[in-house]
Amino acid sequence: MSDNATAAVGRRPLAALAEGRGKPAAIALLAAVAVLYPVAFPNQANVDSLANAAIYAALALGLNIVVGFTGLLDLGYAAFFAIGAYAYGILNSFQLHPAWGPFWVPLQHLGLVMPFPGNSGGTVVHFTLSFWIALPLAAVISAGCGMAFGAPTLRLRGDYLAIVTLGFGEIVPIVFRNWSSLTNGAAGLNGVGAPVLLGHSFGVNAIPYYYVAIALVAFLIFASLRLRDSRIGRAWMAIREDEIAAGAMGVNRTRFKLLAFATGAAFAGATGVVFIAKLQTATPDMFDFPVSVMILVMIVFGGIGSVWGAVAGAMILQLLQSWWLPDLSGLVDGLGRLLGSRWLASVDLTQSTELIFGIILVVMMLYRRQGLIPAHRPQAALSFEAQHAVVQRGFGELRLSGLAGDVAAGTPALQVRGVTVAFGGLKALDAVSIDVPSGGVVAVIGPNGSGKSTLFNVITGLVPANGGSIRFRGEEILGLHDHQILARGIARTFQNIRLFPTLTVLQNVLVGQHARLSTSLFGAVFRPPRTRREEQAALDWAREVIAIFGNRLAPRLGQAVGGLSYANRRRTEIARALASRPKLLLLDEPTAGMNPAETLELAEQIRGLKSLGLTVLLIEHKLDVVTQLADTVYVLDHGEIIAHGTPAEVRRNEDVLRAYLGRNAQAAAAGIAGGGDAT
C-alpha cells in the first residue's frame, strides 16, 4: 500500500478501493465486464464455472485475512466453509423433520419452517430458512465456531498452528460424515432449497447464482481493502510482521488473532451458503483437506496478503481446472486436425489435467515467487533532491502536544521495587528497585548481560517477574499484559530494533497509535464519519510525530521500513513509540549503531522531548549521551543495582568502575572522564 492511499482515506471514502492512480477506472472496467459477461456470453457451463471461481475467490479473500494479513497458517479453512454450507443445507431441506407442534407456529409466520405431511402419517416440520437470512446467519455460526476453536489454539506458533488447524479441517468433515441423523452422512443432503428473490426461485439457472457470487466477492473485496487500511488491518499485519513488537505497541494479540480467525471463518460461512444453494446438495467429501490446501495455494499463487491477488489467484486456478484445461483436449485435437496429425487429433488430456495443473503450479512458483499481484511492490527510489536534501532538525518547530501528562513534574512516575526475574537457575534481575520521576530522564547502564533489557522486558510485560512490584503512577502493573501496559502509557523501543519490516514508515507509526484508536470491525468496513475523523486525526498525529526527525523520515513515509538505513529505522521505532502518546518512554540503546553526528542529533531530539515534559527511561552505552541527558543513572551488574545517583556521582563510584570496566579501572576511568565511548 502506498502512503497516498492512506492519506486519501480521510478525504475520499471511496478511495479505499484505489491503490494508486488509474485504479478506479480499472475497477469500473472489471465490474462492467463481470456484470455484462453473462449477457454477452450466456453459456450456462461457462457462467457456472465463473460462479464457482467467484466462490473460491470469496474463500481466498477470507483465508487471505487469516494467512495473508495476520500470518496465521491455517490448513483447515474448508471446515468453516463446510459449517456454513451445512448450516444452510440443514435449515433449508427435508433432512430434519421433527413432529409439528404449536412451538413451530411463530416460526412459520417468520417463514422459517412450514408444516409438511410426514412419511408415516402426521405432520412434520420442513425447514425453509431463507437464503438471504442464511447468508449472515451462517457467517455468524462459522465465526462462532472459529472463535471456539481458535481460543485455545491460537497461541500456538506457526507450523504448530498449521497442524492443529489441519486437524480441525479433518475433524469437521468426519463429524458431518458420521453424524448421519443431522447430515444424511456420506450420501449427502437432498434437495437443499434454491434462493428465492421477489417470488422467483433461482432454480438451476447458473446466471443468478453468478450474480450473487460476484456480488459477494465484490463486497468481500471492499471489506478486505477497508479492513486492511484500518486500525484493525494494521494490527493484523503488525502481528504477522512481529508479534512481540505488536504486543509492545498495544495490540492485544489474542483478541486480534481471534478476530482475524473469526472474520475469515465468517467469509467462508457465507460463501458456503451460496455454494450449497447453487448445488442443492452437500456431501462431506466436498470439504476435505485438498480444498483447504487449494484455497491456500490460490492466495499464494495470487500474492499472499494481496487482496486483488487472492481474487486473481482463485479465479485463475479454478478456471484453469474447470474450464480451460478441460477444453485443452479440444484445442489440441483441433491443432492436430489443422496440422493433419492423427496422433494429436486423437489425444485425450482429460486424465492429465491434474498433472498439467501441478506442473503449472511448480513453474509459477519458480518464476513468479511473489505471486501474480504481489502485496508489496518494489519501492520507488527517492529522488536525487530528497536523498541529498540538507538535514533539517525538526524539534525546533515541535508542536507535539499532550506528552507531559497531567501530573506535576517530580512526582513518581515509575516505581520498581525488589523485582526479581529468574530464568531457570539464573537470576537476570535480583531485587532491583528503580525510581523514575515524572518529567525526568533516567538512564540505566551496565555491562552486557547485566540485565538491562530484562528490566525493560519486565516493565513492559514481556517477561514475568518472580517477585517484587512495579507501580506506574501509583498503579501496580506487574502481571498486566504487554498491550495493557502500553495502554497505561508506557511505550518502548527494542535494543535490536523490532519494526514491522514490510510495512511503510507511516504504517509503522500508525500501529503505534493502536491503543489510542477505537475503530471496530464494523467501523473499519463501513467507515462512519466518526471513524473517518479518527483516522484523519491518526494520520495528522503520525505526521506530527514523524516531523520531530525533520526531513529524515518525512520523504520516506511510503517506504517499507525494511529498506531504510539503520539510523532511520531507529528513528522510526522511536516515532512509533511516541505515536502511542506515552507518558513514559523506554529507549533501549537508541543511539547504537549511529555515527557521532547522528548520535548528537538524536540526543538533541530526546532532550527536546524531555523539554516537552515526557518522562524517559534510557538504556545507553554511550556515556557522553547519558551524561548529557540523564538526571539520574542506575548501574546494573549481574542483575543487581550496584550504584545510582547523578551521572557525576556514578562516574566516581569505584564499584561501578570495577564492575563496568573490569580490572583496568584506572585506565577506564580516564576514558570515561574523557567522555569516550565505553562500548
Binding site: 457451463a45 450420501a187 438451476v204 485438498p290 480444498v291 479454478q318 483441433g334 489443422l338 491434474e354
Partner: protein, 411 residues
C-alpha cells in the same frame, strides 16, 4: 523459435478449428455426441477410468461395426474431479451437466459415478431434458419419488441406472446369508462412501428385521492402508459372518488383511467387490471364499459378455469391473435408443432420446433392461457369486474366478 504472437495466432486458429467440430474424416457421417461425466483424476480415478473404458469400448465397437449406418458416435468426456476437491467434485459435476445441457449435439449421457455428483447434476439435467444413465451411482434418494420435486423438477425421469440401488442388493444378501449359509450373527463394515454406507445400512436394516444378530458396525477409511485394528476387533467379537459394503479400493486391503486375521469367517460384499482388483491385487489365497453379489440376473456362459471382457482387456490392458460392464450396458441402451428413433423416423435430440431410453427394451449383458417411471431398473434380481480359484484360467478372468451360486432369495 516461435514468437509469442505467432503462438497466440496458432492457438486462436486451433480454437476456431476445435469449435468447428468434427474434421473432414468424419464428414460423411452424422455425429451423435454422448456425454460422459466421471471423476477421472484424483482419489476416485481407479473406478472411473474402468467405467470410461467400458463406455469407450461399446461406442468404438458400434462405430467399427457401423452398427447405426450413417451415424458415428463420439464421446464428450468430462472430468468431474478437480484438484481442488482431490476427488469427485459435485460443483464441477454441475458445471459439466450444464455443459452437456447447453451442447445441442449432445443427446444423452453416461455417468456420473458418484451419487454426490448425481445429486448436483440431476436437477440441471431434468430442467435441460437430458437423460443420463449411471452405471455406478446407487444411492436410492435420486430416484426416490419422495424427492421427485428436487431431483426431477421437470417431471420426467432423466436419471436412469443400469445398476440396482442399494435398497435391494443389501437386503437380498442378508436373506442369502441367513437362509443359504445359516448365518445368525454378523459384523458389518462400510467404506465411508455413499455407496458403501447405503449398502451396509440396507443390509443391517434387513438383518435386524429378520433377527440376525449384528455384533458390530464399523467404518473403514478407504485412504487408510491398515485395517488390522478393526479386523482384530471383529476377531474378538467372533461373529459367524462379515459383510462389507464398499468398493474395491478398501476391499482389496480388507480381503488381504482379513485373510491374515479372520481366515475362517464367512465374508461377503456387494457388487463393489466384483472387480478384477480383488483377484489381481488381493489375489489368492486371500480372496478365496468371499461372497459377492451382482444386482442383475446371471448370464450363464453368455459368449457375448465373455467376448466383451476379452475385448476390453485386449484394448485397455486391464480387466473390466462390474461397473465397467454396466457402463457398457448403458452404451448399449443408448445405441438401442438411437436405432429405435431411426426406425421410427423420429429426430434424434435430447427429448426423443430421453423418451426412447425410458421405453428401452434393449438386450444388454445383464439381459433386457427395462426402467420404471423413476429411472430404476424394473428387475430386482440379485445374483450371488463366490470367489473360487480356477487355476486353469487367468487370474483376472472374472467369469472363471467368480463362481455363480444362484439368485439371492428376494425380500
Amino acid at each position: 523459435m516461435i514468437t509469442r504472437r505467432a503462438a497466440a495466432q496458432l492457438l486462436a486458429s486451433t480454437a476456431a478449428a476445435a469449435t468447428l467440430g468434427a474434421g473432414p474424416a468424419l464428414a460423411a457421417d452424422k455425429v451423435i455426441v454422448i456425454g460422459v461425466d466421471l471423476p477421472l483424476t484424483g482419489a476416485d480415478a481407479q473406478g472411473a477410468i474402468r467405467i470410461l473404458h467400458g463406455a469407450q469400448l461399446v461406442f468404438d465397437q458400434a462405430n467399427d461395426a457401423n452398427a447405426v449406418p450413417g451415424y458415428t458416435f463420439k464421446l464428450a468426456v468430462m472430468n468431474d474431479a478437480t484438484a481442488t476437491a482431490g476427488q469427485y467434485d459435485p460443483a464441477q459435476a454441475a458445471t459439466n451437466a450444464r455443459k452437456m445441457v447447453s451442447d445441442h449435439g449432445l443427446v444423452a449421457a453416461i455417468g456420473p459415478e458418484m451419487s454426490g455428483s448425481g445429486k448436483a447434476m440431476a436437477p440441471i439435467l431434468s430442467e435441460g431434458g437430458l437423460a443420463t444413465i449411471t452405471p455406478a451411482s446407487t444411492n436410492p434418494d435420486i430416484t426416490n419419488p419422495k424427492f421427485a420435486a428436487e431431483f426431477m423438477p421437470a417431471g420426467k425421469a432423466i436419471y436412469f441406472r443400469t445398476v440396482t440401488t442399494d435398497a435391494f442388493q443389501g437386503p437380498e444378501m442378508t436373506m442369502f446369508m441367513a437362509k443359504k449359509l445359516g448365518v445368525k450373527s454378523v459384523y458389518i463394515l462400510d467404506d465411508s462412501g455413499a455407496y458403501g454406507v447405503g449398502l451396509a445400512d440396507a443390509f443391517e436394516g434387513q438383518a435386524k428385521k429378520i433377527g440376525m444378530k449384528v455384533m458390530g458396525r464399523d467404518r473403514l477409511d478407504p485412504k487408510n492402508a491398515d485395517y488390522t485394528t478393526t479386523l482384530t476387533k471383529i476377531k474378538a467379537a467372533n461373529p459367524q459372518a462379515l459383510y462389507f459394503g464398499g468398493v474395491d479400493e478398501a476391499g482389496v486391503k480388507l480381503v488381504k488383511q482379513a485373510y491374515q486375521i479372520i481366515p475362517k469367517m464367512i465374508k461377503g460384499g456387494g457388487d463393489g467387490m466384483v472387480a478384477p482388483d480383488i483377484l489381481t491385487a488381493a489375489g489368492f489365497p486371500a480372496a478365496q471364499g468371499w461372497y459377492a453379489t451382482i444386482a442383475a440376473p446371471h448370464l450363464v456362459g453368455d459368449p457375448k459378455s465373455q467376448g466383451v471382457i476379452r475385448a476390453y482387456k485386449a484394448k485397455f490392458g486391464i480387466g473390466p469391473d462390474d461397473y465397467a460392464l454396466t457402463a457398457y450396458d448403458a452404451g448399449l441402451i443408448i445405441i438401442g435408443a438411437v436405432k429405435t428413433l431411426i426406425a421410427e423416423k423420429k429426430p434424434i435430440n435430447k427429448a426423443t432420446m430421453r423418451d426412447a431410453i425410458a421405453a428401452s427394451k434393449t438386450p444388454t449383458l445383464q439381459g433386457v433392461v427395462e426402467f420404471d417411471k423413476y429411472g430404476d431398473m424394473k428387475s430386482h434380481i440379485v445374483s450371488v457369486y463366490q470367489i473360487r480359484e480356477d487355476k486353469s484360467k487367468p487370474l483376472d478372468d472374472m467369469i472363471a474366478q467368480y463362481h455363480y451360486l444362484g439368485p439371492a432369495p428376494q425380500v
